[in-house]
């Protein structure tokens, strides 16, 4: 009954974890990067089964093509799952690349560090296929648990501890809310599988207890994707945690949250869109506006990216928000939009964090003022930073514009009713506000004179570490090329869209 081909990625990653842990015991301190390498190899290896499954109908050894349903439908590998697993693995891999030079620069428990990152990725990979509440919840915990710990990884730094505690407490509380909500949903429908819930939930959309359950579930994920007002932990945590971890949180773990939200909303709660639609409308509007406005006055770049990621969560939520009114076609559009946005966002945000890591190494600080005139002594990093920041701002011809476009497109997908238009206008205004603070960073880097204290000699002397450079190059390439040929990313969103209407 086991379809090992389907489970191959999870199994490979699991094995990788064990191997990494074992290896960590034997490699000397200055070779710890080997553990990371193992993790990287494992992740890459785990990506291959995805490809074979995707191309199954063209492969000889491959038996059953199409979606693979297991355990009474509680675990499914369909195109959506494939795409998202791929995304998670990629995000994890890039996060590893970002980490190497960072964790080597100070006394870290490198082996365990890599181990935890890969473990968290494993959780996300599981979530992509989870089709019942329990699996989803456990996957979520596997994503979060290691993340809690990683946030505090800079043990000596009080900020890091604080980041960890805040992240942990809010995480646990939202988990409790999520569970309570799940329990209510379970009680109302008597089902834990999404199919079952969907079937049983028709007509429950006016049932207070069910609404309560759904909303609590939404809140649980709202924490994960750091949507206002469940976002407070994010900036503090990003700022305090090791920057690569922050990168992983803002992409991997956030994406995991969105996967959970997508599946549970469109599959489990597909019949009660009029509950989560409006609720998410509110969250989207709040997240975009507050995220951007607060970002305006930030002086620490990582923290600024934290708020920007909150705003982006809002943008990704916009297509959800209109789902209540949508017919099937429009629903697919919305689903496609969210997934595509998620993919593009992953690349550009990882790139942005990479640029921040490299830039902070050059400028010796993550404070915006210390970055002044960075382009004078670190042109490459500066250009990359500009590319990623403007991509985040959604300025053509960088990939970000397409994300914004599909988002707006989804809003209008089913005619332009007042709610849709108003949300679109809010989003448009926010896009402009966002441009301001992204441009502010670029302005500081390119147009201001470097401070007297700038460590120019060291910066010029020390080149960017190879893995970091690799990660930056990769993401930058994708961001630029996808800017001109968005189809290369839109393709995946397209592949995933079928899930919108349930299995």
């Amino acid at each position: 009954m086991f379809d090992y081909h389907a489970l191959a990625p999870e199994i490979i990653i699991g094995v990788t974890l064990i191997v990494a842990l074992m290896l960590d015991l034997f490699v000397p301190e200055h070779r710890k990067y080997l553990v990371g390498a193992v993790g990287l190899v494992g992740l890459v290896a785990a990506a291959f089964p995805l490809l074979t499954m995707a191309a199954c109908d063209k492969l000889s050894f491959c038996t059953e093509a199409g979606a693979r349903v297991m355990f009474d439908g509680s675990y499914v590998i369909d195109d959506f799952a494939l795409v998202l697993k791929g995304l998670f693995i990629l995000a994890g891999a890039i996060s590893l690349l970002l980490s190497v030079s960072y964790v080597e620069s100070d006394r870290y428990y490198q082996g365990e560090y890599y181990f935890l990152i890969v473990a968290s990725v494993a959780g996300a990979v599981v979530m992509a296929s989870a089709r019942d509440l329990i699996t989803l919840f456990i996957g979520l915990e596997l994503v979060s648990g290691p993340a809690f710990l990683l946030a505090g990884w800079r043990k000596g730094d009080v900020r890091s501890n604080e980041a960890a505690l805040k992240f942990f407490l809010i995480g646990v509380l939202s988990a409790a809310l999520l569970l309570f909500g799940m329990s209510l949903v379970f009680g109302m429908t008597g089902e834990v599988t999404f199919e079952g819930i969907r079937a049983a939930s028709a007509g429950l959309s006016r049932e207070p207890a069910f609404i309560l359950g759904v909303v609590f579930v939404l809140v649980g994920f709202g924490f994960k994707i750091s949507a206002v007002p469940f976002h407070f932990w994010a900036p503090d945590t990003y700022q305090g945690a090791p920057t690569p971890v922050a990168a992983y949180l803002s992409v991997g773990s956030k994406a995991a949250g969105f996967v959970g939200l997508l599946t549970i909303c469109y599959l489990a709660f597909g019949e009660v869109r009029d509950i989560w639609g409006p609720a998410l409308w509110v969250l989207a509007a709040l997240s975009m506006t507050l995220g951007n406005l607060t970002a305006l006055r930030q002086t620490n770049i990582v923290r600024l990216l934290g708020y920007s990621s909150i705003a982006h969560a809002g943008f990704i939520l916009v297509p959800f928000a209109m789902a209540a009114q949508f017919d099937d076609v429009a629903l697919e559009e919305a689903f496609f939009a969210s997934v595509t946005y998620l993919i593009i966002y992953a690349f550009m945000n990882l790139g942005a964090f990479g640029a921040v890591i490299a830039g902070s190494e050059k400028a010796g600080s993550g404070e915006l003022d210390d970055w002044a005139g960075l382009s004078r002594y670190a042109p490459g990093v500066s250009v990359l930073a500009a590319v990623f920041f403007f991509s985040l701002a959604g300025v053509p011809p960088l990939a970000g514009w397409f994300a914004k476009l599909v988002m707006f497109r989804a809003v209008f997908a089913d005619g332009a009713d007042p709610w849709a238009v108003s949300l679109a206008v809010i989003a448009a205004v926010n896009a402009v506000i966002a441009l301001y603070y992204y441009a502010r960073v670029v302005k500081t880097v390119f147009m201001d004179a470097p401070p007297a204290t700038a460590p120019i000699e060291e910066a010029v002397a020390r080149p960017v570490a190879a893995p970091l450079a690799l990660a930056l190059g990769l993401t930058a390439l994708v961001v630029v090329v996808a800017g001109f040929f968005p189809q290369i990313l839109a393709f995946f969103g397209d592949a995933a869209r079928a899930l919108a209407l349930g299995p």
């Binding site: 939202s174 909303v215 407070f232 932990w233 509950i275 409006p278």
Partner: protein, 694 residues
């Protein structure tokens, strides 16, 4: 290669032939008449680019172009005299859209060869030729000798474009080209900002009037569906109702344009200032040719103004404005000390004559005066320039007694003055007489207005003679009052004087009613529906001629009475001090005294000064006021509306966003338990929201 084909191969020449189409050599000349404006324009560029390298600094090119025009013009003149003809050519330049019901709107280059245009070719060519020759000497050693002739040639080209144009668009092109040339030449000595101010004043004043021209052309063109004069006039002839509906506005607007170029009140203020330019410029542009463009336009559109129900309501305006201009500006000439200013005001007054004639329906007379005036006024300016050249001053108070030291200049100037004053048998006599006669005849039946203008015109004749006499005496008689030793100008300057003097003498004979009427014939050939009522006269109207001559003689006499004395007291006498006249009055007729105190003094004194004052204060004041207002307005608009208003709003919005940002930030207290509280509160609020609104 469609590109080049379509863009360059436009050569569908639409030749629009009217009554007669000459064949043979004349025909060839007519078909190549487009060279007349083109040659000067091309040579202008040649002068700009290569002028400095040429032995004569580009003057030869300029002079050559004028010679070409003069010869071509005269040849056409003779041919047309022998056998009148009228030909138009049109070349399509561009199609700019479709007018519903009227077809494509086409922009064309066209040249018309008929009596009117030929007359203008001749005037521009001949007078131009003399002036250019003269200028060679006058401008010798000037800093921008070459550039001067470039601009001068540009002017000639523009003027010829204007007069040769078969459609209104091209007319506008020429119109503005001469405007720019005038701007450049008035401000030729731009190191002195006064000259620049004068230049700008001229340009802007004209530009304001051009608004009228533009509007008129636009309305006419759109309504008729074509910019050709012939089409517009055909429409008039056909009684096109659409055109008739806008007829008055078209006529008025175009007349406003004409008022600008021909410096009619109240647009005349620019012309006196324009004397800041070199004298040859004043001579050719601000006396002989450019300023007559307005009159020319009225002539071109004459049938429109004469036709019932189209422009005929405008005639009243035209004749009245002409009448007032001719009289009051004439008075102004009496009190000028700057010799060029005198001539300038005289020009204004003569232009008033032409305009009034046009308003009175005296088509031939007006254009005839244009023709003769070109010669003698050109001559007068050149002669004045020669004087200035010798004396190094414009002021008559620095002159006097020059008739011995500058004989040629003196004699030519005298001839010019007499011609201007309208003394038999010089040119001015015939044309002015023609005008008086036609105004008296009142072909349009304007009644009392015509009578009023007739009176003004007759008084004007007196005033003209009066101030010319004054000028001659103050300049050439009495004692020399300036420094240095005045000397006659070189030949290159005196020969043109002589040439023009001859023309000033004989030019009038081309139209002697009952004797030689060639002039009338060329011009009438072009008119579609010859006027009912006398356009020209079989015989001289002796009454009018008599009165006119009498007035002229009176004026001269009065002038002689006052200023013919070679005494050092000449200047005082210029202030009309009685004592000098007193003995005369005592010894002779006492009514002289009455005459003086009653007429001359008030006329030449207070009234003129009042007019002068009103001119300088009120009208200039108005002009300056508008300038100042615009400046003030602009400062306000820019300073407040733009820099404060709009920007402030924008920046305020931005700042507001920032402020909100820094307020919103405060929510992020850093206290984890408050975050937790937000978590729960948010959740509960969502649920409650549903329980309430759901």
């Amino acid at each position: 290669m469609q590109a080049l084909n379509t863009v360059l191969a436009y050569a569908e020449e639409a030749a629009h032939h009217l009554e007669t189409d000459p064949g043979g050599f004349v025909g060839v000349m007519v078909d190549w008449a487009w060279l007349i404006p083109v040659v000067p324009l091309v040579l202008m560029f040649a002068i700009v680019f290569f002028g400095k390298r040429l032995p004569l600094k580009g003057w030869e090119l300029a002079e050559g172009s004028m010679a070409f025009v003069a010869i071509y013009g005269v040849a056409l003149l003779i041919a047309n005299w022998i056998e009148p003809f009228t030909v138009e050519h049109h070349v399509e330049i561009a199609r700019i859209g479709v007018l519903p019901g009227l077809g494509d709107l086409v922009i064309e280059w066209g040249w018309v060869v008929d009596g009117l245009s030929i007359m203008m070719y001749t005037v521009v060519g001949v007078v131009g030729f003399f002036v250019f020759t003269y200028a060679k000497g006058y401008m010798e050693g000037d800093v921008r000798f070459t550039f001067f002739f470039a601009s001068f040639t540009l002017f000639a080209g523009g003027m010829l474009v204007l007069v040769s144009s078969a459609n209104m668009m091209q007319l506008i092109v020429g119109w503005e080209l001469v405007g720019v040339a005038s701007y450049l030449l008035i401000g030729h000595w731009w190191e002195d900002h006064a000259n620049n101010a004068a230049a700008i004043k001229a340009f802007i004043t004209n530009k304001i009037a051009d608004v009228g021209l533009f509007v008129g052309v636009i309305i006419a063109g759109i309504t008729v569906g074509s910019f050709r004069f012939t089409d517009v006039l055909d429409a008039v002839e056909a009684g096109d109702s659409a055109l008739a509906r806008v007829g008055f506005w078209v006529g008025l607007a175009m007349f406003v344009g004409a008022m600008g170029k021909s410096a009619q009140m109240p647009f005349h203020v620019w012309l006196p200032d324009a004397m800041a330019g070199p004298t040859p410029v004043s001579s050719l542009m601000h006396a002989a040719t450019m300023v007559t463009a307005g009159v020319y336009l009225l002539g071109r559109m004459f049938p429109f103004y004469q036709a019932e129900g189209f422009g005929d309501d405008v005639k009243l305006w035209i004749i009245l404005i002409g009448g007032f201009t001719l009289f009051f500006t004439g008075l102004l000439a009496l009190v000028q000390d700057d010799i060029k200013k005198v001539l300038a005001y005289s020009t204004l007054s003569q232009l008033g004559y032409m305009t009034a004639a046009m308003g009175a329906g005296a088509y031939t007379a007006g254009l005839f005066h244009l023709f003769t005036h070109a010669f003698f006024k050109g001559l007068l300016f050149l002669a004045a320039g020669s004087v200035i050249h010798g004396v190094h001053s414009n002021n008559m108070s620095d002159m006097g007694g020059l008739r011995k030291s500058m004989p040629t200049t003196y004699w030519t100037f005298l001839i010019g003055s007499l011609a201007l004053a309208g003394v038999f048998p010089l040119a001015g006599f015939w044309s002015k007489d023609e005008i008086l006669a036609s105004v008296k005849a009142d072909a349009f039946g304007l009644g009392s207005a015509a009578d009023l203008v007739l009176v003004l015109a007759i008084l004007g004749a007196f005033v003209t003679a009066f101030y010319m006499a004054r000028t001659v005496y103050l300049t050439f008689f009495g004692e020399y009052k300036g420094e240095g030793h005045p000397h006659e100008s070189p030949r290159v300057m005196t020969y043109p004087l002589i040439g023009l003097a001859v023309l000033s003498a004989v030019a009038g004979w081309v139209l002697i009613p009952g004797v030689s009427e060639g002039f009338t014939h060329w011009l009438e050939a072009r008119l579609h529906n010859p006027l009912d009522g006398p356009l020209h006269f079989e015989s001289i109207d002796w009454a009018v001629a008599g009165i006119g001559t009498l007035m002229a003689l009176l004026g001269i006499a009065a002038g002689t009475r006052l200023w013919y004395r070679d005494a050092p007291t000449q200047l005082e006498r210029d202030r009309f001090r009685i004592p000098v006249l007193y003995p005369l009055l005592e010894h002779k007729y006492y009514f002289d005294d009455v005459y003086m105190n009653g007429i001359v003094k008030p006329t030449a004194g207070p009234i003129a000064r009042a007019t002068n004052w009103s001119n300088n204060v009120i009208i200039d004041g108005v002009v300056n006021f508008f300038g100042a207002t615009a400046r003030f307005l602009s400062r306000y608009v820019y300073g407040w509306a733009d820099q404060r208003g709009i920007d402030l709003a924008i920046n305020a919005a931005a700042a507001a966003a920032g402020e909100t940002g820094s307020v919103v930030r405060r929510v992020q207290t850093g206290k984890v338990q408050q975050y937790a509280g937000a978590l729960f509160v948010g959740a509960i609020l969502l649920v409650i929201g549903f329980l309430i609104f759901g």
